[in-house]
């Protein structure tokens, strides 16, 4: 029996014996509609025998159940509230909220207007490490005395043009915002900022988009690379990528979907400390100063990380040797002079902010509070010995601070709130 070329490449791919040349051929063939039918046929026969077999991945089943049921991915929160809320009486004054689980569809940055309550996982499981804290489950009602609640962050950013003038983006009307060289800066109906023409012969003008504490924003760079900026972050980029590399600078946290262009490597300079080189790739960089390390999480494609600022490519052998390449699903943590790579990074967690969610999986209380500080523009203090609280679960980001505090209360976390200062007490 002779195999069609495409069939052969698929087989080689599945076996893991495909060569680089064959890989290229597979790439050429995979999108051909005729081959789609062949792929259907191959998969059909494999699936048929798979449906017949009794193979079992119990740990996977457990995780699927956990994610889909226990963590309530399938849950419309309104049901959860009715069923699970032993604290209902405390919420009676609140109007019946309407909910959305839209974020699951990756509706980037589109916050449903009316989400009130927070938990996707009912329960943010919460462990008291010390004994005898049961009485602390009854917490003070301090937050009820809040005269004005603190709302969540939103779509806010400041655009600084090459001449130093600034545009406040949440107020700006849609349409043309400015002319930068030959590029027009346009604000789309959904709030995105786009540079609609790349004039490679023109003058290079540098723009900076920055988000305040409690803000986030999205920009499409002149090369069509998409960038999401988390709160208290910034990106500086040229209005045309005329150099041999596409170089941008960031602070804080950003998620990139880099447009493919093999001729022009995409370089992200992180606060003058390190450089991430991307080759048609999606990745998240968390470089907040208050976090212990700069975390780069690769979603797809590949990136190379240099523990220094690059001025140009190509680079020296030594620089290459001290750099690290990430594979999808890996995370690099860069601290002072050390790069640590871990596989199986929690991608959901790394991208949660972009999808409108806090993901507190296994976070300790201080890491959780740092996120809240950046999103609610509050400052958090600690009184006494606060530790041993491990959070689990997820929460929408577009809820008011009082809802977050409500949750803390249920978890038995004691706190006081005074203006914009949240104090966690023992």
């Amino acid at each position: 029996m002779t195999l069609l070329p495409f069939e052969y490449y698929i087989e080689r791919y599945l076996e893991g014996s495909i060569t680089p040349e064959e890989w290229k051929s597979l790439q050429d063939l995979i999108n051909n509609p005729d081959n789609d039918i062949i792929l259907d046929r191959i998969m059909d026969s494999q699936l048929a025998s798979r449906f017949a077999s009794a193979e079992n991945y119990p740990l996977v089943i457990e995780r699927l159940k956990k994610e889909l049921i226990e963590n309530r991915l399938i849950k419309e929160p309104v049901l959860e509230k009715e069923k699970q809320e032993p604290f209902q009486q405390e919420k009676q004054e609140a109007p019946q909220p309407s909910y959305s689980v839209r974020f699951l569809k990756k509706a980037h940055l589109r916050y449903a207007a009316a989400i009130l309550l927070l938990l996707i996982g009912v329960s943010i499981a919460y462990f008291w490490m010390s004994v005898g804290n049961a009485e602390k489950l009854t917490t003070t009602d301090t937050y009820h005395h809040l005269e004005t609640d603190i709302g969540p962050g939103g779509e806010k950013a400041l655009l600084t043009l090459a001449d130093g003038s600034t545009i406040i983006l949440d107020n700006a009307e849609n349409g043309n915002l400015a002319q930068q060289g030959s590029a027009q800066v346009v604000k789309l109906a959904d709030g995105q900022i786009v540079y609609n023409m790349e004039d490679l012969a023109g003058e290079v003008l540098w723009n900076t988009m920055s988000t305040p504490v409690g803000g986030q924003y999205q920009v499409i760079l002149p090369d069509q690379t998409k960038v999401w900026l988390n709160a208290a972050s910034s990106i500086t980029y040229p209005t045309a990528f005329v150099d041999k590399t596409r170089k941008v600078k960031i602070t804080g946290e950003a998620y990139f979907e880099v447009a493919k262009n093999k001729q022009k490597p995409f370089l992200v300079d992180i606060d003058g400390k390190l450089t991430v080189q991307a080759l048609g790739t999606s990745f998240n960089i968390n470089s907040y100063k208050e976090e212990l390390s700069v975390k780069t999480t690769l979603i797809e494609g590949s990136v190379r990380i240099y523990n220094e600022t690059l001025t140009s490519l190509p680079i020296s052998e030594q620089q290459l040797n001290s750099s690290v390449i990430l594979m999808p699903g890996q995370q690099a943590q860069v601290s002072s002079k050390d790069i640590k790579v871990t596989s199986g990074a929690d991608i959901d967690q790394a991208l949660a902010w972009k999808n409108g969610v806090f993901d507190f999986n296994d976070a300790d209380i201080r890491a959780v509070m740092r996120q809240l500080e950046r999103w609610y523009d509050i400052s958090v203090k600690y009184e006494g010995n606060i530790s041993g609280h491990i959070f689990k679960g997820k929460m929408y980001r577009n809820v008011n601070l009082s809802d977050v505090l409500e949750m803390f209360k249920k978890m038995g976390i004691n706190f006081k709130i005074d203006g914009k200062t949240l104090t966690i007490t023992e």
Binding site: Q46, E55, L64, L104, E300, V324, I325, V341
Partner: protein
Amino acid sequence: MNLDTKLPEKNLYNEKELLLRIANADERAFESLIERFGSTIYGHALMYLKDARLAQEVSQDILLNVWKHRSELPNIENFAGYVFVMTRNRVKTVLRKKIMSFAELPEDGIHSALAGTEAGLEYKELRDIINAGIEELPPRRKQIFKMSRFGGLSYDEIARQLNIGKSTVKDHVLEALVYLRAYMKEKHGIVLSALLGVFLSAMTFLIGMIF
């Protein structure tokens, strides 16, 4: 494609009832649906995507989709066929995306492995883990896999020796790879870079097969 002739009975005599309960948002019922189809979906996704995490995400998406469209479930005549087609299409989409986005993979995998900082596991330890995984394969599959990987026999040669079809041999080898990949991840959380790095020198061939 007529799924009825292709799909064996999965003993879903109460399938109708199960689907009705799911349509009524019964979580228990959905749980047993996950138990019935989760491994099948996952196995297929893992075979094609070669990434346990991605396979898990894809499986999750497919099942979530079933849940989202639960109101339509009672009208579905052949539910296994419905899952079948959804799995095939979803895996195809992700596979295409993966193939198109991994232009540099063959080279980068090596660089990454060599640059990896987690070379803590010893060669012997890894070899033991893989061998333990192979030992957990069903006897026939184990035999065929060993003949193929360690005996250096071609599919044709194995087929002739065992007097079975070549495609059966191939299926066993591919399934063994899916199993080993899941085994490494589930039982040992094996880190790709470390594994590759240590193995490249000694077991290039086998490693190519697994990752």
